[in-house]
């Protein structure tokens, strides 16, 4: 944790190129949220079998090359997600409820060049639909990549929300294809 914190501070200061002390995290800028949902014509159990495996995101997300994970699906499990473009994201599982088909996790370390966000946390929720299908909701709360005042355009709130939205949409669309395709 301490190592993560220090590297976050390091990244922020380096990025700013300023001698001014930058907040290590949170609360200078405003936190934003992003939510994407998709309806899948497959039963929740089938969708959960894919997305419910914290260490198996490479099985359904088209941007992911591989996942290295520890701790399975128990709280404090970790996964290191390597993207097809070479970017790496370190994540930690916070809460996991297989019965309710939901979990929460957060990013512990990511370069803003990979994903232009800070203090990102996320939640996945599956809800059965009336006709036997599944609604999947993927939501995130995060700050923009630049924690000082007056961010450059590539590190402002719009950039952060757009990047997260693209990750969610690409993942959910492929999840739908996989879950529906096997029927």
């Amino acid at each position: 944790m301490i190592k993560t914190l220090f590297s976050t501070i390091g990244a922020a200061v380096l990025l700013a190129g300023l001698a001014l002390p930058m907040p290590a995290s949170a609360h200078g800028p405003s936190r934003v949220k992003q939510t994407e949902t998709i309806i899948i014509a497959a039963p929740p159990e089938k969708v959960w079998e894919l997305i419910g495996d914290f260490g198996g995101i490479h099985r359904w997300h088209p941007n992911v090359e591989k996942t290295e994970s520890t701790g399975g699906n128990a709280p404090k499990a970790t996964r290191t997600v390597t993207l097809k473009n070479g970017g790496v994201i370190h994540e930690l599982l916070k809460k996991y409820d297989a019965e309710a088909m939901t979990y929460q996790y957060r990013i512990t370390e990511v370069d803003v060049k990979v994903l232009p966000v800070k203090n990102y946390s996320s939640k996945v929720v599956l809800t059965p639909t009336d006709d036997g299908g599944t609604e999947v909701m993927w939501q995130g709360a995060f700050y923009r990549g630049f924690m000082g005042n007056d961010p450059p355009p590539e590190l402002n709130e719009e950039a952060a929300q757009s990047a997260v939205s693209q990750v969610y949409t690409a993942g959910l669309e492929n999840l739908k294809k996989l879950a529906e395709g096997g029927n």
Binding site: P21, P23, A24, G28, K33, Q139, G148
Partner: protein, 325 residues
């Protein structure tokens, strides 16, 4: 069961008020002013009825809120537009907009209503505004990234959390001078002083605990572990119970102020942030940022009494109900 009982009492009160007063001046309130950060609005909840009485457009990304005990006004900070909106407590209209510094976030008002204190996140100062002229009358240098403000009941002291200095600055309001700087846990954010001005509690975002400060000794006397990312603190009027929002756990920790132990942990909405005990001492209001709602909790039984839909990104950071604590 107890929820029904409390609603019953509320309705009786409302019915009595309706019978006694002509319709044009129905008894209402006090109001709870909830800043909706993503919607750029304030939801005004009539705490007598539990209904949203008004939704008021304000500046960009409103966060902080302060209301004097008489409820005559509400002050709202908008960190992104770097200004403050003043809302009239009767008409519920914005009556003034004032640009203040580089990052106005936390805000508090003196119990007399004469002074408004605004912490500047980027400039490491607290500005003291004359409430009548809305001009800066003093600037107090504090620690790094001042993030929470609260004035004691007598109005003699202002307490400031310095998030990036891991401390609380104690400011004497008579001369606007810092008389002490007290170390806390890591990254203190929200804070509250009890009604007797005996203790200050800070929520420490990074160390996931609460620092308990003795206001006479001007020193920390205890640290109480809570859950992840504690944000806001509320205290019952008798000082007996302390409530803390935990953003990452979607919970409220309940601390017994005598034993200084967590006695209960309550599930609330996602990303609970601003929290305050109603002046009646019976209800706790919790703004849930991700779920766009306010939860009302029974301060004694700890049951959820009500869930009130507000606006996108409800934050309500500060004393958002007149006389609340």
């Amino acid at each position: 069961m107890s929820a029904r009982g409390t609603f019953g009492a509320g309705w009786l009160f409302l019915a009595a008020a309706l019978a006694a007063v002509p319709a044009a001046s129905q008894k209402s309130g006090p109001y709870a002013y909830i800043t909706n950060q993503s919607a750029d609005t304030v939801s005004v909840i009539d705490t007598a009825s539990g209904e949203v009485a008004a939704t008021i457009p304000v500046g960009k990304r409103p966060a902080g809120v302060a209301v004097p005990p008489d409820g005559s006004r509400a002050y709202i900070t908008n960190p992104e537009s770097r200004d403050i909106h003043v809302i009239d407590g009767k008409t519920l209209k914005v009556t003034a907009t004032v640009t203040v510094g580089q990052g106005p976030l936390a805000i508090a008002v003196h119990p007399s209503g004469k002074w408004v204190y605004v912490a500047d996140w980027y400039q490491d100062v607290v500005r003291v505004l004359d409430a009548q002229s809305l001009t800066v009358s003093a600037t107090v240098a504090v620690g790094k990234s001042p993030s929470g403000l609260v004035v004691n009941g007598k109005g003699t002291r202002l307490y400031v959390t310095n998030r990036d200095s891991h401390s609380v600055s104690v400011v004497e309001t008579a001369g606007n001078e810092v008389i002490a700087t007290i170390p806390t846990g890591e990254r203190p954010f929200g804070l509250m002083v009890d009604a007797g001005d005996t203790r200050v509690y800070t929520a420490n975002v990074k160390s996931n605990d609460v620092t308990v400060i003795d206001t006479q000794a001007l020193a920390a006397i205890a640290t109480v572990a809570v859950e992840e990312r504690p944000y806001g603190v509320a205290v019952t009027p008798d000082g007996g119970r302390v409530f803390v929002t935990n953003q990452y756990d979607n919970t409220v920790s309940v601390i017994d102020a005598g034993a200084l132990e967590v006695t209960a942990t309550l599930e609330v909405g996602d990303y609970p942030e601003g929290i305050l005990v109603h002046p009646d001492g019976k209800r706790v209001y919790v703004a849930c940022w991700f779920d766009n709602q306010v939860r009302v909790i029974d301060a004694r039984t700890l049951e959820t009494l009500d869930t009130i839909p507000t606006g996108d990104g409800s934050r309500a950071f500060g004393v958002f109900i007149p006389g609340g604590s």
